[in-house]
């Protein structure tokens, strides 16, 4: 951060011109000089110093009191000069941090990336948008050789970098589970132990795990304290809450999870979400779950991917395009 010396001749010329003409042009040039000085780390006391010198050259008879008072002003400006330097230093540091975070965010994207599987007979839509740079929500599809489809959806307390780190841990634990570990309740029980052992006591994760088996067209699922999703029954044209009780991951070391199973008929839908959807602020109030469902219903005639994107855009608009929490929505529809 080398500072450039202010050009005394130029300054004197500008000052003289202004004192003679009181011309706005000279003031405009002073503004330009001020900007340039900030850019080049010229501190206020240096400008005052140059000002004193220029003034003395223009007015050799300058009263001693004026000279002294300007030196007094110079002294008073020293801390501002330091503050400027500190600000510039912090700005450089911040931009270094920013770029580190952006590298981390990209890494997270790669690490946690999941491919939405193309499965005959199923229409799947999924969207997950972080409130900040790093996502504390996570969803993952596990499509196996035996054609079962596992769906994991998790939400870490808080957001940002700590949440993202905890999420990577969940993803790697799941990857390391043996292949025959498919039962939702068993998966949650195993993850609970991992989380309980490895994270801060005040940190926890909510998670929903579902397993679709195309052979008998069943959907088995278990929930670790996750925001309930919705189930759409085509036959009765009715939406119901997906009921599943279970403790959040990380609260105790021996939680067990009940597994439910439901038969999926043609046209039925499974709607999964995180509380970034239901905790959506509308000015001073929150959106009620019924309203969330109303919004989802409005777009359910669309293909699943279009539907989730429209719902997201709807809520984004409602919150003035500024999400307060990470937002994740998944819709799975069994084709007619």
């Amino acid at each position: 951060m080398e500072s450039v010396a202010l050009d005394l001749d130029n300054y004197r010329k500008l000052l003289k011109e202004y004192l003679l003409t009181h011309d706005e042009t000279a003031l405009y040039q002073a503004e330009q000089l001020s900007k340039l000085s900030v850019q080049h780390n010229v501190s206020p006391e240096e400008i005052i110093h140059v000002h004193i010198k220029a003034l003395k050259e223009l007015y050799p008879e300058l009263p001693e009191e004026v000279n002294d008072s300007l030196n007094f002003l110079l002294e008073a400006m020293i801390s501002y000069g330091l503050a400027l330097q500190e600000y510039q230093h912090l700005r450089e540091k911040q931009s270094a941090l920013e770029s580190e975070i952006s590298v981390a965010a990209n890494m997270q994207k790669t690490l946690l990336s999941t491919k939405k599987p193309e499965i005959p007979g199923l229409d799947i839509g999924a969207i997950s948008v972080p409130a900040n740079r790093m996502n504390g929500d996570y969803y993952h599809f596990i499509y196996d050789n035996d054609h079962t489809l596992g769906i994991a959806l998790a939400d870490v307390i808080g957001k940002g970098i700590p949440a993202a780190l905890a999420m990577s841990m969940i993803k790697y634990s799941m990857d390391s589970f043996p292949e025959d570990l498919r039962q939702p309740s068993r998966i949650l029980e195993n993850l609970n132990r991992v989380v309980e052992r490895n994270v801060d006591p005040s940190m926890f994760i909510t998670m929903f795990y579902g397993l679709y088996n195309p052979k008998d067209q069943t959907f088995s699922y278990a929930s670790a304290g996750h925001e309930p999703g919705f189930y759409y029954h085509k036959e009765t044209d009715h939406y119901s809450e997906i009921e599943a009780k279970g403790l959040v991951l990380g609260a105790t070391n021996n939680a067990t999870y009940d597994q439910e199973v439901t038969q999926i008929e043609a046209g039925d839908c499974i709607i999964l979400l995180t509380d970034g959807v239901t905790e959506c602020h509308l000015g001073d109030r929150f959106i009620e779950r019924d309203e969330v469902l109303d919004v989802i219903k409005r777009y359910m005639h669309l293909p699943a991917q279009e539907a989730v994107e429209h719902v997201y855009k709807h809520f984004e608009r409602l919150q003035d395009f500024h999400l307060r929490d990470d937002f994740t929505l998944i819709i799975i529809r069994k084709d007619v």
């Binding site: 307390i157 006591p201 005040s202 926890f204 304290g225 309930p228 279970g246 959040v248 509380d275």
Partner: protein, 111 residues
């Protein structure tokens, strides 16, 4: 938006009651943690948290109560939450934390 949390502490022998007022979120949770956690580390201490005037709580708040619960178990202390508003109570129900944290929806009058 500038919403705060007031924590009013009433101490009795072997029992402390925290009256909370406001919102518990990422900004106010550290204050709650600072007041609550030291109490949970007192052997055999009874802690009552009155949430009657808490209109909103997010998952950060739940996290504070989970860590408080873990700490009470280590020190044989007791934690009880009372007078939860519906919206706040729902959070404890969804997360099933109501199965491991003692919650009373009505509190007995003064003795």
């Amino acid at each position: 938006m500038n919403i705060n949390l007031d924590v009013d502490v009433t101490e009795k022998e072997n029992e402390t009651t925290l009256h909370l007022k406001g919102e518990i979120d990422a900004y106010t949770a550290p204050l709650l943690k600072e007041k609550l956690l030291p109490l949970t580390a007192k052997q055999d201490h009874h802690i009552i948290v009155d949430l009657a005037e808490v209109s909103y709580m997010d998952s950060t708040g739940l996290g504070v109560f989970i860590s408080a619960l873990k700490s009470t178990k280590e020190h044989d202390a007791q934690l009880k939450l009372v007078n939860l508003q519906e919206r706040v109570h729902r959070l404890f129900k969804i997360t099933s934390l109501d199965t491991i944290i003692t919650i009373e929806t009505t509190v007995r009058g003064g003795n």
